[in-house]
């Protein structure tokens, strides 16, 4: 029985497979770095590292031909290879302890990253003007159609629909009041211009307001630009049309409608991540070196308000010193609006401890391994 398992594992134990996987990883990392110039870090991450395959689309064709294994496949193969090699050849000996520690650290790192990948919240941003308070952060990449039930006395009910699901012709049934949303048209990225700026009279556009129309743009992947979708939506209640509206993320002003007795608002806006606590910006500081414009430090003095945990305190966020609270990390990412607005990046990573443990294992393992090499080398030298 055991020998059969060993037989089965054999192809996966080869160091050749290790080298192959590491080589593939190098190609992936190289391409995924170069391509960031064109598609930005987020999209590159998705295409190269959080994927099963790299795809090639021949020009003018609607084909996706896989041509190279993506990060998931390479990582899993490497994991299998590591596990199999150790399972097949595992012998407990002092000489091997370094190697074993090193590789178990690697296994932990790979598994931990995979886990983090599956469960971690997307990174989001918290933009605060001086004195402003917010209990949510906003995605930098994604937008949502928020349908808000405003009839509650002291709280709103928000239904969030990812903007990517609003493609032309799609129908979305809401879980309340028999509401249905139908998309008549959808631009993944748009610009707002005045109606008189249209290139020609019949140019396709969505009239968003009396002063503005949305026209479609190419999707952008630039580092400091975001896509601003626009949509033409109709709302139905029990198959009866309530109304049609044109919404644009570049102009996130809610429209309101009545469905039965309830009052609703709808808005296309950056996807929000609500937090069980609120943050107020007390002061943002941008220190420069004397006589220059070189930034010396950015810092945000904030007030953290969490009634459920009886917290109401001030805190200072600055470079290399984020605020960590309830599993979230808030770090100083930027500023805007003539130093009046702070931009905090918000990350949530429940498996943040894993890399620390695996790194400790790897480092100890490597020091042992190479230390023993060095020792035997020096010994031989001394004898010679």
């Amino acid at each position: 029985m055991t020998s059969k398992i060993v037989q089965l594992l054999k192809p996966f134990t080869s160091p050749k497979l290790t080298i192959f996987c590491l080589g593939c990883a190098m190609v992936l990392v190289f391409l995924g770095t170069i391509d960031q110039v064109n598609i930005g870090v987020y999209e590159a991450e998705n295409r190269y590292f959080r994927s099963f395959f790299l795809f090639f689309t021949p020009p003018h064709m609607d084909l996706r031909i896989p041509w190279f294994p993506g990060g998931y496949i390479v990582g899993s193969l490497l994991l299998v290879n590591l596990l199999a090699a150790h399972a097949a050849r595992f012998r407990l000996s002092l000489k091997k302890i370094g190697i074993v520690l090193l590789h178990s650290g690697l296994i932990l790192l790979l598994v931990g990253q995979l886990f983090a990948d599956l469960f971690v919240d997307l990174e989001s941003q918290l933009r605060l003007d001086q004195g402003e308070t917010k209990n949510y952060s906003e995605s930098f990449y994604f937008d949502e159609l928020a349908v808000i039930d405003t009839s509650g006395a002291d709280s709103d009910q928000v239904i969030s629909i990812p903007a990517s699901r609003l493609s032309k012709g799609s129908r979305i049934d809401l879980p309340v009041d028999g509401l249905r949303i139908v998309s008549n048209d959808y631009y993944p990225n748009s610009a707002l211009i005045s109606p008189s700026q249209l290139p020609q009279p019949g140019y396709p556009h969505l009239p968003v307001g009396p002063m503005a129309v949305a026209v479609q743009l190419e999707k952008t992947y630039k580092q400091n630009e975001r896509n601003l979708p626009a949509a033409d939506l109709s709302v139905f209640k029990n198959d009866k049309l309530i109304g049609s509206w044109r919404l644009a993320a570049g102009f996130p002003r809610p429209i309101s409608f009545q469905a039965g007795v309830k009052k609703y608002e709808a808005v296309l806006r950056p996807k929000r991540f609500y937090k069980p606590f609120a943050i107020t910006l007390i002061q943002f500081r941008h220190d420069r070196y004397a006589g220059t414009d070189i930034a010396k430090n950015f810092s945000s003095r904030i007030r953290l308000l969490d009634p459920s945990r009886h917290e109401d305190r001030e805190s200072l966020i600055f470079m290399n010193n984020p605020l960590r609270y309830r599993g979230f990390t808030f770090y100083q990412a930027g500023f805007d609006n003539n130093d009046q607005t702070t931009v905090l990046q918000v990350a949530k990573n429940p498996s943040w401890l894993v890399p620390y443990i695996s790194c400790a294992l790897i480092v100890i393992g490597m020091l042992l391994q190479f230390g023993m090499h060095l020792l035997s080398f020096v010994k031989r030298r001394v004898i010679a």
Binding site: P15, I19, Q36, E123, Y289, A290, G291, W352, Q369
Partner: protein
């Protein structure tokens, strides 16, 4: 006697180089060095006038010198002295260099067919509006898409602006006698303030006093538009840089407290003395002002003085010279008198290394930082660490190979550093995110150590291939010891780069809330780790022997150079402090050259002269897999 030859030869050369490090004697009795040591705040840090002079001049022309209208090449600080105190002199000096023919054509000059054409400020005066116009258009183009003409015109415009700012650093350049002007200003302050107060209170006031003080105020407000270098220190807060003032700010605040600060008066007296050719008087004021500074801001003055000596010593250039000599002698030692020359090479290498070390330590003292803070200092440090590794290895192997490696890498990295230095102040202040000595000392230094080991391994690989393919002197013992050297260095590189990359991840987690973000610089470090893992597994698995190891370490050079410089050229990511857009050509040339060496290394063994000389045909005949090979 014969045993002494290496020592005599080595020490003579080292002493010769050290003798070149002393600052020059003052010519014509003028205390130029005294002026050059005076502190001034530029770019957020206090530097000596000497550094300001060097930085400014090297921005204006490629050799960074001050050549007067009479074609005399003077010290950079002499140039700055003229610009600041006798601008009518420096206006005629050919300071501004143009290398672009289209810009030269813009000025309609016929005599220009060389590589660089130099103009004086006065030569360019008629074209100022044209230059401004062209530069304004060039700024509208994206910085990546600018053509050489646009880049050149922007550089020229910036040089001219800098020149104007420098002229107005300690005086208003249009003042016929700034000392007299300040005297007049001092007389006006008290009555002027009284007139202003009376007027505000609705009382009768002296209109003449009022108009005078308003005139001076407007004049110094205009002057403050030229502020770039801040020469007036603040004795109240000797440790901080925030109190330093431009001369205009000092004069404006003098209106508030009624007294012109002493440093302004000292500079005025210097100007008067210098303009009237009163050398003794000038020297007296410089000494008096230095005494004042040594009482008020002793630490800043000391640092400025040390930086002045450092500028003149140019330790990295001197070390570079010794590395070259060591390299030539080292290569000769492979052919002739291996013992005598080999020993000389080691003495030279150690001498160069000590000078290199001294330079590194002084830089750390001046900046108050760990050794690596920007690309320039990373090059210095990578070279330093490689040379140290080589000296240690030479002690073990004593085969003259490590010392040659040390000389090559020492010279190469210092040459790279020298070229990077032309971009500006190499002791610049750090961007906000880097302002943490703990991580700079561990993560950044660790990465740099990894780079050094990678290049060292790659160089041994190159030597292995070149000697094996082209020379007869490649015996089995050499082959084996080169193989062991490569293996050991790769192990060290793996350790350093893996630990440093992990530390980088922890830094990222601490400050950005995520361990790994696929940022280009992170990926570059990861590529090095992956490639090292491949090399080690290939060796442990028995797929790569010495020749394989050599070819793979040469590829390691490519990976390292891309990770070190290449990712900075992408211009994306969070590690924005090291961005650069030049040097793409040299990097590409380096990568291609490494591929060529690899191709040579892959040539069939039948064509390896070194192997043929041994009468062997197959590589497998050479026992390679050593007993310490490890299988997981």
């Amino acid at each position: 006697m014969k045993r002494l030859i290496p020592w005599i030869l080595g020490l003579v050369l080292v002493v010769w180089v050290i003798s070149r490090m002393l600052p020059p004697k003052d010519a014509h009795g003028l205390d130029l060095n005294g002026f050059a040591k005076l502190p001034v705040l530029v770019g957020g840090r206090v530097m000596p006038m000497d550094t300001l002079a060097r930085l400014s001049l090297s921005g204006m022309n490629h050799h960074g010198t001050y050549t007067t209208a009479g074609r005399m090449v003077e010290q950079p600080s002499q140039g700055l002295l003229d610009v600041m105190m006798m601008p009518e002199h420096s206006d005629t000096a050919k300071l501004f260099e143009v290398s672009n023919q289209e810009i030269v054509d813009l000025f309609g000059s016929q005599d220009a067919k060389g590589q660089f054409v130099s103009y004086s400020f006065n030569d360019l005066k008629p074209y100022f509006s044209e230059i401004e116009k062209q530069a304004a258009m060039a700024t509208q183009a994206d910085s990546e898409t600018r053509n050489p003409f646009q880049r050149g015109i922007l550089k020229l415009r910036d040089s001219l602006r800098l020149y104007l700012q420098l002229k107005n650093t300690i005086q208003a350049e249009d003042s016929p006698d700034f000392g007299k002007e300040i005297e007049a200003f001092q007389m006006v302050i008290q009555p002027g303030i009284k007139a202003v107060r009376d007027r505000d209170a609705g009382k009768l006031f002296d209109n003449q006093d009022f108009e005078r003080i308003v005139l001076f105020t407007q004049r110094y407000q205009n002057l403050s538009q030229a502020k770039y270098a801040f020469a007036i220190p603040s004795p109240q807060v000797p440790e901080e840089n925030d109190g330093w003032q431009h001369v205009s700010q000092a004069l404006l605040s003098a209106i508030g407290h009624g007294q012109v600060p002493y440093p302004v008066l000292a500079y005025c007296r210097m100007i008067s003395a210098y303009r009237s050719g009163d050398i003794v008087g000038f020297n007296d004021v410089v000494r008096e002002y230095s005494d004042y500074l040594s009482k008020t801001i002793p630490q800043k003055l000391d640092r400025a003085k040390i930086e002045f000596l450092f500028n003149h010593a140019q330790p990295f250039l001197q070390a570079m010279a010794l590395y070259v000599i060591a390299l030539v002698l080292g290569l000769l030692s492979w052919l002739f008198w291996p013992k005598t020359l080999g020993k000389t090479v080691i003495i030279l290498l150690v001498g160069a290394f000590l000078i290199h070390t001294a330079g590194l330590i002084v830089r750390m003292y001046l900046q108050g930082r760990p050794p690596v803070t920007n690309l320039y200092s990373s090059a210095i440090f990578v070279g330093w660490a490689s040379v140290m590794l080589c000296i240690l290895m030479e002690r073990f192997y004593r085969n003259g190979i490590s010392s040659v490696c040390g000389a090559v890498i020492g010279f190469g990295t210092l040459l790279i550093a020298h070229n990077l230095q032309l971009d500006g102040d190499s002791l610049e202040m750090l961007r906000a995110v880097l302002d943490t000595n703990g991580w700079l000392a561990t993560h950044v230094v660790g990465e740099a150590l990894g780079y050094s080991a990678m290049f060292l391994a790659g160089l041994i690989g190159i030597i292995y291939i070149v000697r094996g393919v082209f020379t007869n002197s490649f015996d089995e013992a050499t082959s084996k010891s080169l193989g062991r050297m490569m293996y050991g260095v790769v192990c060290f590189a793996t350790l350093c780069s893996l630990v440093a990359t992990i530390l980088g991840g922890i830094w990222a987690d601490q400050s950005w809330g995520r361990f790994w973000g696929w940022d280009p610089k992170e990926n570059g470090a990861l590529l090095i780790v992956l490639w090292n893992a491949i090399i080690l597994h290939a060796r442990w698995g028995g797929y790569a022997r010495e020749r394989g190891l050599a070819v793979m370490t040469v590829f390691g050079n490519i990976v390292t150079s891309l990770s070190w410089f290449g990712v900075n050229m992408l211009g994306v990511g969070l590690h924005s402090y090291g961005f650069m857009d030049q040097a793409f050509g040299p990097l590409l040339a380096f990568v291609v050259s490494q591929f060529v060496v690899m191709a040579i290394g892959c040539v069939s063994l039948e064509h390896w002269r070194g192997i043929k000389a041994r009468g062997r045909r197959k590589e497998s005949d050479i026992p390679v897999l050593t007993t310490d090979a490890v299988q997981p």
